[in-house]
């Protein structure tokens, strides 16, 4: 199906830990618990890990901290930071290093105690002299500005944003791990506290604790393990600060998606489930457009038609996403864990039937970094 070198690798373990509230744990404790669980699921010993990838909330040398904490001496450590998409960039490096024979077992992890440990969203964003005077609240303000432009150019409405919030919540209600499992109504949405117009608190991702981890190996290591095969992975970035974004209504996901689909030899029509980084409700609309699941400007109507929710033809964010399941500061790795669960038939009540191709899409900064991974079931091996 694909000849890209990255497609020689597979995920053979994926785990979460501490979703919601995990009082008493440090962020690194949480990452380590998820990592040990993912290795356990893969049946691979900690000592076999020779490629280590992490990016912790406020530890800029967390690759070193994590290796020390685990007591291993990896051949390769990487804590590339692109915001919440970082862990998919780690997958890119891991896949290439695996294909090159540089490493045999890659462990990618993230953990944050931001809800119980700090009481607020931990953001690495620091304004410069060209932004500081104006008091944009970050990160929400960046996404609010993009939403205002999307509404202006395409007639996207609060009805459309509500459809995103509703779809995510409907999925979360099927996920015992999800933090927000009560139904959301239009009345709830309309009365929600505004944060940065047009976005209210219900358009914003959660602030929770949580950790995730995955284990990647070359295909020849998979043997009889449950596996999700990497078929393509594309990265793209076109700005950092929101005012520098070339077009506020089209993200670099357009290019990361094109690269990933080209590597995989697939098109959006081949995809069975989509797990994307919904830091804010507008993200789901923009990324579905940019990745090619609908035309630019039609994302709002696409979601409002009901196709992304339970029972829909293109299930999106089947765990409830950052809006309703978990958002410990950086969410990207959770898209990969949920894709793995859907591809391996381990998603419980929310399992979508016949999933062979899944997209996991990470976003970082203020729509700044976009990374698209296309993963396949055993049938695609």
């Amino acid at each position: 199906m694909t000849t890209d070198r990255r497609a020689q690798s597979a995920i053979v373990g994926a785990a979460t830990f501490g979703i919601g509230e995990a009082p008493g744990f440090t962020s690194m404790d949480l990452a380590a618990r998820a990592a040990i669980a993912a290795l356990g699921e893969a049946g691979i010993g900690l000592a076999e890990v020779d490629g280590l990838f992490i990016g912790q909330p406020s530890d800029f040398l967390s690759g070193l901290t994590f290796a020390e904490y685990l007591g291993i001496q990896p051949k390769l450590t990487n804590n590339n930071r692109t915001g919440g998409s970082a862990f998919l960039t780690h997958m890119n490096v891991a896949a290439l290093a695996l294909a090159a024979g540089e490493i045999d077992v890659a462990l990618i992890a993230y953990g944050s105690n931001q809800r119980t440990g700090t009481g607020g969203l931990v953001s690495a964003a620091a304004p410069n002299i060209y932004e500081k005077p104006y008091g944009l609240r970050l990160p929400v303000g960046g996404y609010a500005l993009a939403a205002s432009r999307h509404m202006h150019e395409f007639g996207t409405t609060k009805d459309h944003l509500y459809a995103v919030v509703r779809s995510a919540r409907d999925w979360a209600m099927l996920n015992p791990e999800a933090f927000l499992r009560k139904p959301v109504t239009r009345e709830d949405y309309d009365s929600a506290r505004m944060v940065s117009d047009p976005l209210s608190v219900l358009d914003c991702c959660l602030v929770t604790d949580g950790a995730a981890a995955i284990v990647m190996v070359r295909k020849d290591w998979v043997e009889n393990r449950k596996a999700a095969y990497l078929l393509g992975l594309g990265e793209a970035t076109d700005h950092y600060q929101i005012a520098q974004m070339p077009d506020l209504t089209t993200s670099a996901a357009k290019f990361s998606g094109q690269r990933a689909f080209a590597q995989a030899g697939l098109t959006p029509a081949d995809v069975d489930v989509v797990e994307l980084y919904d830091a804010f409700s507008i993200n789901t609309i923009m990324f579905l457009e940019d990745l090619g699941f609908c035309k630019k400007g039609e994302g709002g109507d696409f979601v409002a038609s009901g196709v992304t929710g339970p029972g829909g033809s293109l299930p999106v964010n089947t765990n409830g996403g950052g809006l309703a399941c978990v958002h410990p500061g950086m969410y990207g790795l959770f898209t990969v864990v949920e894709a793995f669960r859907q591809l391996t038939g381990t998603a419980g009540e929310r399992q979508v039937s016949g999933v062979d191709i899944a997209v996991a899409h990470g976003n970082g900064g203020f729509l700044s970094s976009q990374v698209t991974a296309i993963l396949g079931s055993n049938a695609t091996r």
């Binding site: 410069n128 002299i129 060209y130 932004e131 500081k132 005077p133 104006y134 008091g135 944009l136 609240r137 303000g141 609010a144 500005l145 993009a146 205002s148 432009r149 202006h152 506290r193 505004m194 944060v195 940065s196 117009d197 047009p198 976005l199 600060q241 929101i242 005012a243 520098q244 506020l248």
Partner: protein, 133 residues
């Protein structure tokens, strides 16, 4: 126009603001103004940079109303698209947030910020006959 050999972008930008001048940069060979100030033209790396004074005209490109707890007042933050092309974060002063719209014509104004200065915008009354964008 001044050709800058050893440009110190932030310092020089702020020094111009203190003199009442809102300056952009451009490469002399490319001729494309850019903002924010840098040591090389974005995309090309060209270093034949000069400062040019912005005409100050522009239009609102995107808006958000930042909600704050009373007794503080909610306030707007906008992205302005300058007539020269570059976009910048700013605010529009003297306009009720409900009256602010994308496409509104605005004019730059330099105001004090902390111990420095920054560029804000005011509605360009002469160029806003109606709510058209």
């Amino acid at each position: 126009m001044t050709i800058i050999e050893d440009i110190l972008p932030d310092q020089e930008y702020l020094a111009f603001l203190a003199q009442g001048k809102f300056m952009l940069q451009q490469s002399r060979s490319s001729g494309r103004p850019f903002f924010y100030p840098r040591v090389a033209e974005p995309g090309t790396g060209k270093t034949d940079l000069e400062w040019i004074e912005a005409a100050g005209g522009g239009a609102v490109y995107a808006t958000t109303l930042v909600r704050v707890r009373p007794p503080n007042s909610d306030y707007c933050v906008v992205i302005i698209e300058l007539d020269e092309g570059p976009r910048m974060l700013s605010r529009v002063e003297g306009v009720n947030p409900a009256e602010l719209f994308i496409g509104m014509r605005v004019q730059a104004k330099i105001v004090p910020f902390e111990d420095q200065h920054c560029v804000v915008f005011v509605q360009d009354a002469g160029e806003n006959p109606g709510k058209v964008s």
